[in-house]
Amino acid sequence: MPRILTMSMMAILAVPGMAWAQGAAAAGGDDLAKAFAVLAAGLGFGLAAGLCGLGQGRAAGQAVDAMARQPGAIARIQTAMLLGLAFIESLVLFVFVIAVILLFVKS
């Protein structure tokens, strides 16, 4: 079952590239590189956003848990939570910067 999943994933990943390769045979390698850059930007940013959602959800959940247990320490927990969320989020923003570079900077 995992093998089928992996193979279908690979097929899905390869389809745009192959479709492009057929159409862009005459257009040269530059368009192909651009197509793969768009693909990489979209996939990479989707991965980063999804995993960041997992991490931030865990952090926020634990923080709410702690706040419910210790209502007196809400201010400190909130500060720590915001800082932690910012650190998690900044990793996604690195990917975002890379995606913007891939999309808009002509190499």
């Binding site: 500060t79 915001l82 800082l83 910012a86 900044s90 923003l93 690195f94 975002f96 910067v97 808009f104």
Partner: protein, 251 residues
């Protein structure tokens, strides 16, 4: 980008947009500060009251983070914080540009923080003891390794500080631009106004939903993000300064 984005209202050739709008943010801050401090009273009213409340938040955070010596750094932290806050909020006004949505502005702020906390650390405990601190409390064999790792982590600080602010503002900018583009005259609303049945049935409700979504959810979220990013930038600057100051007191 140029396809979906309207140029800003005010644009002077030969001056980059982010510098022009940095000047506008500076003008706003200088005007407010001047009006607030023109007649300083013991019992504040009006704009003086407002500025005192704003600055008290910074003082509270400084006392909490750095401790008894924290108020010395109020000018630096409050200046950075107010500038970043005004810049972030400027990006939400249609037609204006957020200066912080450009990497040059945020990198300048982050480099100021970087240089300042190293200077504070060196001044507090001298050059050689400050360098020794990078090695940390580990056995002598591991010290060179720790030193290199610590140097790398210190160099990563301004990088992440600037990229975080820039990425947040830039992402919000692009998101708002895309939404305005999709619901505007080139998008759903234009489709509905063109008069076809499909446009009226699908385009008009979609445009309405997008307007409600943007005004009701996206704009409040962006205002929240503007404040949170300012808070985080200032808090991290305070934490770095606190780390440079505290190490002097332990040894």
């Amino acid at each position: 980008m140029e396809l979906i984005e309207h140029p800003p209202i005010l644009h002077i050739a030969a001056i980059p947009d982010h510098i022009l709008y940095t000047w506008i943010a500076m003008a706003i801050l200088i005007t407010v500060a001047f009006v607030a401090s023109r007649r300083v009273q013991l019992v504040p009213t009006g704009s003086q009251n407002f500025m005192e409340i704003v600055l008290e938040q910074f003082v509270k955070e400084l006392d909490e983070t750095i401790g008894h010596d924290g108020r010395r750094y109020l000018p630096l932290i409050a200046t950075l914080g107010l500038f970043i806050l005004v810049s972030n909020l400027m990006g939400l006004v249609p037609g204006l540009v957020a200066p912080t949505a450009n990497l040059n502005t945020t990198a300048a702020c982050a480099l100021i923080v970087f240089v300042t906390y190293h200077v504070i650390g060196v001044r507090k405990q001298g050059f050689i003891p400050y360098l020794k601190h990078f090695a940390g409390p580990v056995p002598t064999v591991l010290k060179p390794l720790m030193f290199v790792i610590e140097i790398i982590s210190h160099c990563a600080r301004p990088l992440s500080l600037s990229l975080r602010l820039f990425g947040n503002m830039m992402a919000g900018h692009i998101l708002l631009a895309i939404f305005f583009f999709m619901m505007g005259f080139d998008g759903m609303l234009g489709w509905a106004l063109r008069g076809s049945v499909a446009g009226l049935v699908i385009g008009a409700p979609a445009a309405l939903i997008m307007v409600v979504f943007v005004v009701g959810f996206l704009f409040p979220l962006k205002i929240l993000v503007a404040f949170i990013q300012t808070f985080i930038f200032c808090k991290l600057a305070m934490l770095y300064i606190a780390a440079a100051v505290e190490e002097a007191e332990h040894h």
